[in-house]
Symmetry: C2
Subunit: 247 residues, 2 copies
Amino acid sequence: MRSSAFEKLRGLGFDETAAGVLADHFVAAEQSGRTGHGLARIDWLATLPGLDPAASPERLVAEPGYERWDGRGALGYLTLDAVVRAQVVEPPERARLVVASASFPTGVLGFWVRRLAEAGLVGVLTATSPPRLSSPDGGPPVAGTNPIAVGVPSRDGPPVVADVSPATATYGDVLAGLASAEDVVPFGGEQAYKAFALAVGLEALVGALAGPEHGAVLLVARPEHDSVAWLRERAPDVRLPGDGPSV
Amino acid sequence: MRSSAFEKLRGLGFDETAAGVLADHFVAAEQSGRTGHGLARIDWLATLPGLDPAASPERLVAEPGYERWDGRGALGYLTLDAVVRAQVVEPPERARLVVASASFPTGVLGFWVRRLAEAGLVGVLTATSPPRLSSPDGGPPVAGTNPIAVGVPSRDGPPVVADVSPATATYGDVLAGLASAEDVVPFGGEQAYKAFALAVGLEALVGALAGPEHGAVLLVARPEHDSVAWLRERAPDVRLPGDGPSV
């Protein structure tokens, strides 16, 4: 599966490193059942206007507690890959906010915070995408299907990786033929106003920090306690978010 | 409404400043319709074991990008009030993570990020509470009804204040007689696994940074763009989270 994805990506003009990053992401998405973020994305990439396979992101500001990146025309996947690698190489003393502007699409956010968790770091990541969610009261789309992912490592076992989209179905599900565009609404039925509020809050957050183009905001921190071990002790037989097929 | 609340709180032993902070919070909760966090909490406070009206929080670490607070036996409301005041007095250059351990109960989180937004700051706040949410698959309670609130200011008008609980009803609703304990479940019906994942992710996050007692984690940042103005332009007639009766 990976080698044919890799070859297709090479055919789109990505170099070996970039094609490897992208193939790994799409294959992991498939294997975890998030097919909307999987191999179907390769054909979709080819349709993106202005796709520049040679573009690479740039770190514009690097302070102990703050970094600012810009995609510089690169796909958001490649920007987040570079961001995550940089955090693992030089973790924050305590905590660091990383703002990535012009970074789209960013794929399965749980994938990125899982990598941070595997390096022993706590991560909270959100990202914006084209506005598709309207208020449950009606009106035009206001917010993207902006997910939020939280990754928390454990000394004793697998991390918790929660990755939640405020939408019933994501646009990726539509691309993969798993849902129709009408399913891209805030989840929650009668309480869909909650998911809508979350999506709008995240939209405003990322916009305020990263600017008008779709972007991502990542908090990275060093854990001071093994909270995941307590949760597993509290509920030994319960499947926690991120358990099972990993992405 | 405020003066009788204030007098009752004075009667519980709180000094004028603390009683004022608490009364303001409960009255604002009532006025915004979040009665579960409103005046009913005063009688509930009196039932808390070990309530120490004289306790006050302490800032243990103060770095440009990181602060660590401890409730020192004070109510979480008073800790967050002190945290918010400190951020407004000395805002971060870019961003700051504030970790508050032993801080419970914290009330309506939107109230605190609204105050930050009114001071021109972006805030993202979450907090933990006693485990009441079980997995939709069953088992014991794993996570609190841990809300997440996002406040984003605007130069042109009111801020966006999204304040979302992953629970269908909060324990406050139960205290106020508005819901029964069985309603304290992850919201979302068939997709309740999403709200459960969010609650567990936030539980693990706060625990990893703040330790085993209930705590709070706040990100404060300076906005670089007026994203709220864009959202209002995108959907001029849509009520955004935080519009209406304010808390």
